[in-house]
């Protein structure tokens, strides 16, 4: 499968401009004959929305969402927005649209609420991780912080996920020492997740600056064999295309049958307190 990593720079709270940005990138990815295009977390709205969350929130029948979903007749699309649920709660979500249909909506479960983050103040948390069937196999979405918790990757793995998408809004921080601390954590985690779960993994992080905070980009993809197949430059609005093979999942599971040998009852017994 041919995946387009759309490392965009959304405008803060300007959904109309961001929709246009999506359309441009989708058009380019279609021209490049990609099967799927992945946008960063909250790609339709930008990140530091604060009180603006409820104003830019959309339901799935919103004109903009319908428009992107309609564009998915030519290419599968992973994109992010603020979702207003039936319960009138607001969620940080990433959607998977395919063949003109909204296939899956993942609500971010782990809302960071420490140091520079205050997502839990503005968003309601999703309650579950799940997989969904697509033309490119069984997929799962983890939004940024979700992917840094072992519960999420464990559950997706046991559900038989084959490709994991991680849309992200990771800010540049920690320039003391060599390299960017935030980038180092993500690169380690992405490689680990792809290798240990033996799944293909696509991480797309945004770029741009909001209120002095720069998002570092550096989007990347790993094969199920744990090898890095792509890494986009840092701090630059750009797109990259990567080929990921289903066959790599098979090969990885022959070489490293961690997925086969996992014994979930050990975890279950532990959680039960036995």
């Amino acid at each position: 499968m041919r995946v387009c990593l759309a490392q965009i720079k959304p405008f803060l709270g300007d959904t109309a401009k961001n929709l246009k940005l999506h359309e441009e990138y989708i058009e380019k990815a279609v021209a490049e004959k990609c099967d799927v295009i992945v946008f960063p977390e909250l790609s339709l709205t930008g990140y530091y929305l604060l009180d603006y969350v409820s104003d830019v929130a959309m339901k799935t029948d919103d004109r903009m969402i319908k428009k992107i979903v309609a564009l998915s007749k030519d290419i599968s699309i992973v994109f992010g927005f603020v979702f207003e649920g039936e319960d009138n709660l607001f969620y940080n979500v990433s959607a998977y649209a395919e063949k003109g249909r909204l296939v899956h909506l993942h609500k971010k479960v782990y809302l960071p609420d420490y140091t520079m983050f205050e997502e839990a103040r503005y968003f309601a948390a999703g309650k579950e991780f799940s997989v969904f069937e697509t033309a490119i196999g069984r997929c799962g979405i983890l939004i940024c912080e979700d992917a840094l918790h072992t519960s999420s990757i464990y559950i997706l793995s046991r559900m038989g996920v084959q490709t994991v998408f991680i849309p992200s809004n990771s800010p540049a921080r920690g320039v003391v020492g060599d390299g960017l601390e935030a980038a180092s954590i993500w690169q380690t985690s992405n490689k680990y997740t792809a290798s240990l779960l033996t799944v293909n993994l696509v991480y797309v992080n945004r770029v741009g600056v909001e209120d002095g905070v720069a998002f570092w980009g550096g989007s990347e993809a790993y094969s199920a064999l744990g090898s890095r197949k792509a890494r986009l430059p840092q701090f630059e609005e750009t797109m990259g295309i990567v080929e990921l093979e289903q066959e790599d999942i098979r090969l990885a599971r022959i070489h490293s049958p961690f997925y086969r040998d996992e014994k979930s009852h050990i975890l279950l017994d532990y959680l039960k307190g036995d």
Binding site: F11, L12, L50, A172, V175, G179, V209, D211, G212, F235
Partner: protein
């Protein structure tokens, strides 16, 4: 505390470029004092926008040292940026003389605020954003004039300690003379920052880095060898000058009060 210099430069230039251009402006305006902080800020702006879009303003007062302005010119020449000299004496002097026996501190504050009036005026003239030049050490110690040199629209070096300012300045090729000279606000003759503060930047930065960035508490700091009085004095200073780092306190009456529960990013809509 050692920076990854290449990355730091990349983050700071991205910051200046985007925060300037996203609001529709093309250039930046900043006061060039002849010191290292303004030199570094200007150098970052040049990397971000190109030299033609950086406007430096030299703001001497009649008692300023001649060396300061000579160094400002040195920096402007080295970076190839526009430099305008705006002597603040003709309007600062009547103000200072209108009150008898103004203290050194008051005069210093008046000068810093006169300079800021001038810089903001030039920003309107050039259609440029005002670039702040206060570093993290000064901000934490409250060592600056509120609505004077602490005022700005965007600040590229406010998260760098003075020690890191020196380090990054070398990397960006700031003239050696400016890097090596004694830091001074030049508010009165022979003033030096370290003389006035009573400790060196190197010492206080080591302590601030452990206190602020690494969140070390007092017992740990003492174990690390920091002097108890010094730790106490700096802790109190950080607390005492918190007001300079915040918007004014607004009395809460309504459901939603600006800054407290009316909360939007400044870049809202950009």
């Amino acid at each position: 505390m050692k920076l990854d210099l290449k990355l730091t430069k990349q983050i700071l230039t991205t910051f200046v470029k985007e925060e300037t251009e996203k609001i529709g402006l093309k250039s930046v305006v900043l006061g060039l004092s002849g010191g290292i902080d303004s030199a570094l800020s200007a150098a970052i702006a040049v990397e971000a926008l190109g030299r033609g879009r950086v406007f430096g303003v030299g703001l001497p007062y009649k008692l300023s040292s001649r060396e300061s302005m000579a160094d400002a010119e040195l920096v402007a020449d080295a970076l190839g940026i526009n430099l305008e000299i705006a002597d603040i004496t003709p309007f600062a002097e009547p103000f200072i003389e209108s009150e008898k026996d103004m203290s050194k501190l008051r005069i210093g504050n008046v000068l810093a605020r006169m300079r800021m009036v001038t810089i903001f005026d030039r920003s309107a003239k050039h259609g440029g954003i005002v670039l702040g030049t206060s570093n993290k050490t000064e901000l934490l110690l409250g060592y600056g004039t509120w609505y004077g040199d602490l005022a700005s629209a965007i600040n590229p070096i406010g998260d760098l300690y003075k020690t890191q300012v020196w380090e990054l300045s070398e990397y960006l090729g700031i003239p050696d003379k400016v890097i090596k000279k004694q830091p001074t606000a030049d508010l009165w003759p022979d003033q030096t920052d370290e003389g006035e503060l009573g400790f060196t930047y190197k010492d206080v930065d080591r302590l601030l880095y452990e206190m602020v960035d690494n969140r070390r508490r007092k017992p740990e700091l003492l174990k690390m060898g920091f002097d108890e009085d010094f730790v106490q004095k700096i802790s109190e200073r950080i607390m005492r000058y918190q007001f300079k780092r915040k918007i004014p306190v607004i009395a809460k009456v309504s459901q939603r009060t600006i800054g407290r529960d009316f909360r939007y990013s400044r870049d809202w809509g950009y």
